[in-house]
Symmetry: C2
Subunit: 229 residues, 2 copies
């Protein structure tokens, strides 16, 4: 990755220009990691906390509980940020859902470096706040929402994140399988499938093949998701 690519990437991620000096200091200890679809991202063993940017692709952070029970705790798209740590009570791994290009920084060095520029530090903190909000919203969903509310919440949030905004408003091409939807919503694939069918019968969505979903009524799906309107 060239100096320019690096600066462009950070600009896209942080909505903020990165001074040349900061860019080169960060590049010194940042590692580019390519992750093939379906495989685990390997971080080096020198740190157990990383700040990871997704330069390209879609990835999932998965907590493993044994007995085939797993929970996706974060679904990350291009330009998202992940805090990867090995200090949770269960093992977590970052998997490529598509082929991914990641940019990983050992957390300590990264923080000490960005602290030198208060604007960058603030931008990073903002991103972390967003990730916190998402993680908490996920706890509310997993702890208190019904299967229908979970699936509606998922579709609503995907529409906000990757929805077409032109004449095909509300048309989604889901980057993930039913199994992954189930693993992120704390449900089984059968229940997810049934809820898709039910939302289709309610006239809230339409589907085409496995991955295309058209949201016909944005407001109604938010209502079904128990989200504020």
């Amino acid at each position: 990755m060239s100096d320019n690519d690096f600066q462009r990437l950070f600009a896209a991620i942080l909505d903020l220009g990165l001074p040349k000096s900061m860019a080169s200091r960060l590049r010194a200890f940042g590692r580019e990691i390519d992750v093939k679809c379906g495989t685990v991202a390997e971080f080096d063993e020198t740190s157990d906390r990383f700040i990871v940017f997704v330069a390209k692709g879609v990835a999932k952070l998965v907590g493993h509980l044994g007995n085939d029970r797993e929970q996706i705790v974060a679904l990350v798209l291009t330009n998202d940020l992940i805090m990867q740590s090995r200090t949770g009570t269960v093992p977590y791994f970052l998997y490529g859902i598509t082929d991914c290009r990641l940019l990983a920084f050992p957390a300590d060095a990264f923080i000490r470096t960005v602290a030198a520029d208060p604007d960058i530090a603030k931008a990073i903190f903002d991103r972390m706040f967003v990730a916190f909000d998402q993680s908490r919203d996920m706890s509310v969903l997993l702890g208190r929402k019904t299967a229908q509310e979970r699936v509606a919440s998922f579709l609503s949030s995907m529409a906000d994140r990757i929805g077409n905004e032109d004449e095909n408003a509300g048309l989604l091409s889901l980057p993930i399988s039913r199994r992954e939807i189930a693993d992120s919503l704390g449900l089984t694939i059968e229940t997810v499938s049934r809820q898709f069918t039910e939302l289709r019968q309610l006239g809230v969505i339409d589907t085409n093949g496995r991955s295309e979903v058209k949201i016909l009524d944005r407001l109604r799906i938010r209502k079904l998701a128990a989200l504020p309107l």
Copy 2:
């Protein structure tokens, strides 16, 4: 709160001495908030993101979903840190479980200030990583664990956080009610109560009154909690 109290508090929270200059700069925009047991912490309207330290007491951060459905997304004890934000998809409020003394900083000013000292910045980031780990562990618990595993996880984590370490090892005085345990585990009070009974019958815990729990077998309760040993 005096300058000295302030420095002592930060030392306790961050395991790190706070230089006098930093302490006085932070004090300039930090607000002390007293929260009575059972009431909501009121933050000023000038910011919607705060870094909050618990100087004294026990508090809960609660997400509200309507229809009496609520989920405790974080249980915070003395010397813990909370990222409070108003930008989640559901409304969150911080409640005192006991009378609390909080120290709240508008996030932007706080970050710009602590960035000046890389050691402090790193200490804050470390705390945030811990909070992330907790939030993700909570997602795994809520998404994939059974009622028994949830209650066992709760007791095991409380033992780690507030357990007696002397001759009364494993003796806990729970700071929260059955309703709050249920609200934090995504269960009903009846189910929590039944699981307490079952763990007692299994000989893993003993209880005395409403709040005293003695953990008789730390290893076994971790096994029942689906935690690594």
